[in-house]
């Protein structure tokens, strides 16, 4: 684990996540403390069901915690309501999903520009175009997701995650649906862009080779950091 002297961006204090269904309550995260600094990368590893994605999604404000505190730049976000969490994501968080989650009715450029449109800044097509060029899709900006390969779709998703200059970039198993060659290209891109932008990268992965490229690695087991 590498040390970091940068400013704290995220701090998790004894967080718990309980998921309830009609039959039972499952304790997914059972008391995790974690500090993530500015412009660093951290990987979350662990077995299936250990709570890796859930932990990452609490930072994204997509999963609500049942106990503990989450601080973003020393301000609590765990007590924000659904709408404020959406604004928090819109302004500070970029997410890359395993299954890309692009909107099928929109072209590559429209998908990339979507976070800006949601935030109300419509005239920044330039930034989306620039990012698509960087991820190597400058000539496919008007293609729809179904006209792109898996690797290309994930590159669009990376561009979309970075379009609003997020302070936090969360990648949840970003290579889970890709072959080896595409996986390497995508991971290289994520690290390259994260460094250039100065975002803090939180990457959920099974792959030790990916985890080792991060400045910090944590391993989860049964909802706890081990």
């Amino acid at each position: 684990m590498k040390n970091n002297i940068n400013k704290k961006i995220i701090e998790l204090q004894n967080i718990h996540v309980d998921l309830k269904n009609n039959i039972e309550t499952v304790h997914i995260i059972k008391g995790v403390d974690l500090i993530i600094h500015e412009n660093t990368s951290i990987s979350i590893t662990g077995e299936s069901g250990a709570g890796k994605s859930t932990l990452a999604m609490t930072i994204a404000g997509l999963e609500l915690i049942s106990k503990g505190k989450i601080l973003f730049e020393n301000k609590p976000i765990h007590n924000l309501n659904e709408n404020d969490l959406a604004i928090y994501r819109s302004q500070h968080v970029g997410i890359i999903f395993q299954s890309f989650n692009l909107l099928p009715s929109m072209t590559a450029i429209e998908n990339v520009n979507l976070p800006n449109e949601i935030a109300g800044s419509y005239n920044e097509n330039k930034r989306a175009l620039e990012l698509l060029k960087i991820v190597g899709l400058g000539d496919r900006i008007n293609h729809y997701p179904h006209q792109l390969s898996g690797g290309e779709q994930q590159r669009v998703a990376i561009a979309r995650a970075l379009v609003s200059f997020p302070k936090i970039l969360i990648a949840d198993e970003p290579t889970g649906n890709l072959d080896k060659k595409n996986s390497e290209e995508v991971i290289n891109l994520i690290f390259k862009l994260q460094e250039e932008q100065g975002s803090s990268l939180i990457i959920v992965t099974h792959d030790q080779s990916i985890a080792s490229q991060c400045s910090e690695t944590i391993k989860l087991d049964n909802g706890l950091i081990v």
Binding site: K75, I87, S90, Q91, F97, S105
Partner: protein
């Protein structure tokens, strides 16, 4: 940390909304058809009635044929009136009656009842008639080569297969068809119109000999005074207590206006109900669409979109879909008066010139918009419940049970707005509340019954491990979609069953009446000196018992118990009885099949003061009972009769039904005619008898009851077809919801297949399990629909239509099988390819 709020009312979201809509238009086909139909009907009816009212009110003078119209029946106008009118302005005398016109073929002779109108040389005082070929009216009607000139409707030309130039027999004279009358300025629609127009001169009518004392002839004088501010007190005084009535421009169109208002209200209500039923289709369509969009909504939220932004994106889409559906509906609706111009001009309003009016467009637009928002606001508000985390954990089964305060408030406002618009449309608060009550209660019953069925299904148990038990468990799990599918399909099917039973009950009634009870023909205007010959002919052809002949004269009720009709307080349902001339009959013999409700029939040899038998419902409406006295004016003479009995009148039997039947003496010598019906199962002989009677007696007209029924039934069928199409659309919208649900649960089903296969199940067994599942859902929807459809139709048929409840088991079963069939087939087609997926691939790819 500073969170900058997103701009909620930024209309740039409209662009985003439309981009998200790309490629999804197919999903809205049913929604668009539903909006189109409802709005189209309301716009078309609104535009048509507005145009007709405008036309009538603006051209009332032309339609009246002058500034005043005096009319009377049976007798010509007294000389004094004629002289006074001629002295004070321009007049035109018109005589109208019904007669039979016979074609001139030697083979396949055709006869038709015609509305004969005889005019003088001054006609028309206002407006210009259009005649084809173009000739003046006087030239067209004057005598030519010993034949009298005549004009006919185009429809009569086709019915009798005659052509311009043909010479036909009319009573004692011959007439030559000199042209087709395309536009008759003072001709207005009337319910009493039986046939097409035959226009001749007064001189020709005299020569025909058709006017005999007692025959039903209407005399009219059109009058334009020299002085606009003429004092009519002489006339008014003169006509008091007689059968002569005076119409002026203002009151001439009252009846027609009220007819237009009532008819357009009825059709608008059909349109409104269409729109409300369509609302269910719209709601289901949007629900199905949004189910497919759950992932997109989750992506929007994961990328930072607030709930209100997501709501707005989809709300804009619905409004956009609404606008592109409503514009063609409005255009189609406002073009109806233009498309019907020829038909309206030809059939009842020859001066008709349509315009585009804004009011019906605004009302239809508002109706459409309110219904569209009302029925989509709840499905759209469910987007609030979709969480972005559903991108990781597929569980689309969130439901919004407690709507937010804003949504509830909006719903309330929309309901009030709709109530207000319905009130504006009906001008009847009671009716508006009634419409809402029926819609609300129907929906609550449907929801309650569905819950009840699922509750009982929960209690049921099949053999453990059996496919039926697995299917049952799958259907009753907490997050099941089965209830939504059942409700979506039940609405359409219940409606279809209700309509079908109403249609079958009506048809059954009509068929039964025509075949068993109703007469075959009506014979009108039989003269007293002809009745014995008609009886003799009937006896010869089909037997005297087949003839029901009754004397008839016309008169008007002037007072009840010495209170003048204008001062009476009566039920408005029987206003029509007092409004104008009514037909009276007399009989000392108790009429056949009469059902006396109160009192008794007077003796056969009764010769005392006039007694009266009155229809029971009319008596109740007029608040009269046995012993009360009614005053009449018949042919200018005043009579008083004492009510001696009340009797049931069954209008549906289509036989001769007089509201007023008097005792015989004192009245039998008044000029009168006879009306008769013939009833016989031997149609050939009956037709031969009618042919014989009308050829022997040119003044007697015949009307075929069967032909009248066919005309009424075709209007009824048109209405039923429209409502049936809407029911089918509602049923199709159920398919959309089903398809949407199947798409969402595809992943769950794939997983289910993988697990079943890993556990050793063969594809056949899985197919069988699913078929059972969908069949149960379908059967449940059918059962609920049958129960609701049969109960609603029972109430409507028994209490509203007041006829026997009748349905055909085979049709009912066939209809009920539509839904299980649809659900099973659609589901099977959608799910079939999942069966052949490889279990390990599925588990690797998705889990």
């Amino acid at each position: 940390m500073i969170l900058v709020k997103q701009k909620i009312f930024d209309f740039n979201f409209l662009k985003l909304s439309l981009r998200e809509l790309k490629g999804s238009f197919n999903e809205f086909k049913i929604v668009m058809i539903s909006i189109f139909l409802g709005v189209f009907i309301i716009t078309a009816v609104g535009s048509l009635s507005k145009n007709l009212k405008y036309e009538i009110n603006n051209k009332s003078s032309e339609l009246l044929g002058g500034d005043f119209e005096l009319s009377t029946t049976y007798q010509e106008f007294p000389i004094k009136i004629k002289e006074w009118l001629e002295k004070n302005g321009k007049t035109s005398l018109i005589i109208e009656l019904r007669t039979m016109l016979t074609s001139n073929q030697s083979v396949g002779l055709k006869r038709r009842i015609v509305e004969l109108k005889a005019v003088d040389q001054n006609w028309p005082l206002k407006g210009v008639p259009i005649i084809v070929p173009n000739k003046s009216i006087n030239k067209s009607l004057k005598m030519n080569d010993n034949n009298n000139g005549a004009l006919i409707d185009a429809s009569l030309k086709n019915q009798l297969e005659i052509k311009v130039g043909d010479v036909l027999q009319l009573g004692k004279t011959k007439i030559q068809i000199n042209g087709i009358i395309k536009k008759e300025p003072d001709r207005m629609f009337s319910f009493a119109t039986f046939g097409s127009r035959l226009l001749i001169s007064n001189a020709t009518l005299k020569a025909s000999g058709l006017v005999i004392p007692g025959s039903l002839v209407k005399y009219k004088i059109k009058f334009i005074p020299n002085n606009k501010n003429i004092d009519l007190s002489f006339l008014n005084k003169f006509v008091q207590g007689t059968n002569i009535s005076i119409k002026n421009i203002k009151n001439s169109t009252n009846n027609f206006n009220s007819f237009i208002e009532k008819t357009s209200l009825f059709i608008s209500l059909v349109g409104l109900i269409t729109l409300l039923i369509s609302g269910v289709g719209i709601s289901n369509g949007v629900k199905g669409y949004l189910i497919k969009k759950i992932k997109n909504i989750a992506i929007f939220k994961a990328l930072g979109a607030q709930n209100s932004i997501v709501f707005k994106i989809y709300f804009f889409q619905i409004i956009f879909i609404f606008l592109i559906s409503i514009i063609p509906a409005l255009i189609a609706g406002i073009s109806i008066p233009f498309l019907l111009k020829t038909l309206i001009s030809d059939s009842f309003l020859s001066t008709f010139e349509p315009f585009i009016f804004l009011e019906p467009i605004i009302i239809s637009f508002l109706f459409g918009l309110i219904v569209c928002i009302l029925f989509t606001i709840i499905p759209i508000s469910k987007t609030y419940e979709i969480k972005p985390i559903q991108l990781l954990r597929l569980s689309a089964h969130h439901s919004l049970n407690n709507y937010s305060k804003k949504i509830s408030a909006l719903l309330l406002i929309l309901i009030f707005a709709l109530c207000f618009l319905i009130f504006k449309l009906t001008n009847d608060l009671k009716l508006s509340v009634y419409i809402f009550g029926v819609v609300l209660i129907s929906f609550l019953i449907l929801k309650g019954m569905t819950n009840l069925f699922f509750l009982s299904f929960r209690k049921l148990k099949f053999k453990i491990g059996s496919l039926l038990e697995i299917a049952r468990k799958s259907l009753i799990r907490p997050d099941t979609f089965a209830k939504s599918i059942v409700i979506s399909f039940s609405i359409g099917l219940a409606l279809l069953i209700t309509l079908n039973i109403i249609e079958e009950s009506l048809e059954h009634k009509i068929a039964n009446t025509i075949n068993k009870q109703a007469p075959n023909y009506f014979l009108i205007d039989i003269q007293p000196n002809q009745i014995n010959q008609v009886k003799a002919l009937t006896a010869e052809f089909i037997g005297e018992d087949s003839l029901n002949a009754q004397p008839m004269l016309r008169g008007r009720v002037t007072a009840i118990n010495n209170i003048k009709v204008e001062n009476l307080k009566i039920n408005k349902d029987v206003n029509w009885v007092l409004k104008r001339d009514r037909a009276f009959s007399w009989s000392n013999k108790t009429p056949k099949n009469v059902k006396i409700i109160s009192g008794e029939w007077w003796p056969n040899d009764y010769t005392g003061p006039l007694l009266l038998s009155i229809g029971d419902k009319v008596a109740k409406g007029l608040n009269v009972k046995i012993g009360d006295k009614i005053q009449f004016n018949i042919l200018g003479r005043n009579f008083e009769a004492e009510i001696f009995n009340t009797r049931e009148i069954i209008w549906q039997n289509m036989d001769i039904n007089f509201i007023f039947i008097l005792s015989k003496n004192k009245i039998q010598n008044a000029p009168h005619s006879w009306i008769a019906t013939t009833t016989n199962t031997n149609k050939e002989m009956n037709n031969a008898l009618i042919e014989k009677i009308v050829s022997n007696f040119s003044n007697i007209s015949s009307v075929s009851v069967e032909e009248t029924y066919v005309a009424i039934k075709s209007i009824l069928n048109l209405l039923i077809t429209i409502v049936n199409s809407i029911a089918f659309i509602t049923l199709l919208s159920g398919v959309i919801v089903l398809a949407g649900i199947l798409n969402v649960s595809k992943k769950d089903k794939l997983y289910e297949v993988a697990i079943f296969k890993i556990l050793g199940a063969r594809p056949k067994k899985i197919i069988f399990l699913w078929l059972q599942e969908f069949l149960i859902i379908g059967l449940m929807a059918s059962l609920i629909s049958i129960l609701i459809g049969m109960s609603v139709s029972f109430i409507l048929v028994t209490y509203i239509f007041q006829i026997d409840y009748y349905f055909n088991y085979i049709t009912l079963i066939t209809l009920s099988l539509i839904v299980p069939f649809l659900i099973t087939i659609v589901s099977f087609i959608k799910m079939l390819k999942l069966i052949y997926s490889k279990p390990l691939d599925v588990l690797r790819a998705y889990y």
